[in-house]
Symmetry: C2
Subunit: 337 residues, 2 copies
């Protein structure tokens, strides 16, 4: 139960604790032979360096933070997995902070966490990444941080983004290519910037195809399946019923499919349905969902990599774009003639 310390290792290897410290931190100025002896001693004792001691003594804690607030389980899980994987590659720990509360309080909570834990930097996920006050507070604090999918382009802070607008446009073009002309849209939560961008992509594709983008059927949803279901009912009741509905995320698309079932409208023969995000759900609903793959894991992995660079003083580009991907599954088909 009594902790093994750097002193034990030093004694066993016959060197000073400073040399052990050098080996621990992969500093170059250690003779290969000495390094080997120290390594062996560490292994023999099953030595594990104390993170608190390192945090306290050094100017780095070897810990990064990940903050999120209230998104979906799938999103959080994917983000965490990507960030954890990247941290592991570099021998760092990830501290996860779930935020509650409103603006001011939230910022205080995050700054308190930073101060208490000594984290070296922060990965900020949406919707927190769109909070310009938070961004400003972090900047003032002088803490390295990387934003995932911020509003606009992160206001100069390093950000990892996907092109929601272009992806939505591509999906709409896919539907147009299948012969659809009345393509309805279920918009996502108004508070999320991605909602606006996706809607813009849909409109842009319609306009480019010579359709009246302003008059196109559009209903408001809130990123949940029930809201998608209700929006779909409103769309399906219209005299000029759409032959395709594009929902701003997969949950809402699942709601659209549910509504179609309820109205006796066959998917995809009478109605094509498309989603966005490519969550687990897309492969589970029936028919399986055509959707846009958002590489959440990859985005988190990259954001964490950028943060590691930043902490080490390496310059990083202001915006890193990640690609997206159309997943064509069973919920879309050629428009009935």
């Amino acid at each position: 139960m009594t902790r093994k310390t750097i002193d034990h290792v030093a004694a066993l290897a016959g060197v000073s604790i400073k040399t052990v410290s050098r080996v621990l931190n992969d500093e170059p100025s250690v003779r290969a032979d000495t390094r080997r002896r120290v390594r062996e001693a560490m292994a023999a004792l099953n030595y594990q360096p104390s993170l608190p001691a390192r945090s306290l003594a050094g100017r780095r804690s070897n810990q990064l933070g990940l903050v999120y607030e209230n998104p979906s389980a799938n999103y959080v899980y994917a983000v965490q997995s990507g960030a954890i994987a990247r941290c592991r590659e570099s021998g760092l720990r990830l501290l996860i902070q779930a935020c509650g509360g409103d603006g001011e309080q939230r910022i205080g909570e995050i700054l308190a966490m930073v101060a208490q834990t000594h984290v070296d930097g922060l990965v900020v996920t949406p919707p927190l990444s769109a909070d310009s006050q938070l961004v400003e507070a972090l900047r003032r604090r002088g803490l390295p941080f990387v934003l995932i999918a911020p509003e606009g382009a992160g206001e100069g802070a390093p950000a990892v983004m996907m092109d929601d607008r272009a992806a939505a446009r591509e999906m709409t073009e896919h539907l147009l290519g299948l012969g659809h002309r009345r393509i309805g849209f279920v918009a996502g939560h108004p508070g999320h910037s991605s909602s606006r961008l996706r809607e813009q992509g849909w409109r842009a594709a319609l306009a480019a195809a010579g359709l009246d983008a302003e008059a196109a059927p559009r209903e408001q949803g809130f990123n949940t399946a029930p809201s998608g279901r209700e929006a779909a009912h409103r769309l399906l009741e219209r005299p000029d019923r759409p032959t395709a509905i594009f929902a701003g995320n997969d949950d809402m698309a699942a709601g659209v499919i549910l509504a179609a079932h309820e109205c006796g409208v066959a998917v995809p023969s009478e109605l094509s349905v498309a989603g966005f995000d490519d969550t687990e759900l897309a492969g589970i609903v029936w028919p399986t969902l055509t959707t846009v793959h958002q590489p959440v894991y990859d985005m988190a992995h990259r954001a964490t990599g950028l943060l590691i660079d930043l902490v080490r003083g390496v310059q990083v580009p202001p915006v890193t774009w990640v690609g997206h991907d159309l997943k064509k599954r069973a919920s879309t088909a050629r428009a009935a003639t």
Copy 2:
């Protein structure tokens, strides 16, 4: 950027740092008046104590660990949320550790994490909680820990469990009560103890109803929607097609519904489908899924509470049972006559 320390607070409050420390740790032997002055000084400076310093100096780190390995996104999210909430109530931090690798290596990883981070205790989730070698290693290490849903009854280690067997039996009885006699079962992953318990509950209910439990239609699944779909196809092809199918979890139940759609079997009029767990999915598929609510958030919350007691030297019961709940939704109905 320069950190505020206990010295600053002590100076401002006109006391020694030890007194500030006492206030910080809610020790009783401080005059109310002194305590107030110290509190005010802390607030005025927006003082945040250094967790690494406390971990290093004290015999407690005020940090608990949560270890998981590879379960579903929804499960992880619910467990984390419950544990984080409980930690927050007691002013503790939660360190989350995702494990990879096989038995030996996994144990080493967890013990290394414990040694490095100085966590005061560990919440162990399934399937790790069923690893008796891990349990033994933690016991030897002398670290407080609580198991969630272990195999058997946790081998004497404190555990939080739900009665999978009784719940599955109740669900089967519900189906029997709806007039079903041919009730098929899709078993979950053979590696999970809950799979066996749920199957036992199903069989017990059939036997109690005077049916031949041994000959009842049963197919193997692996906790995924595709495996549920395939199992359902096999069940639906039988000459004595079941009028109800009970799947060992919601994902597989979603697969069953999908298969029914594919075979042109109407749910619930021609086939009732029941699931287990009450994940998000249950409210999203069509028809919405009748299922057993497993209180994952609550289990994690309680397990963390027990762990906090344990760390403080308070005795806790060896097993804490949590209740379950039948959620009757749209996927089950009276058997066709």
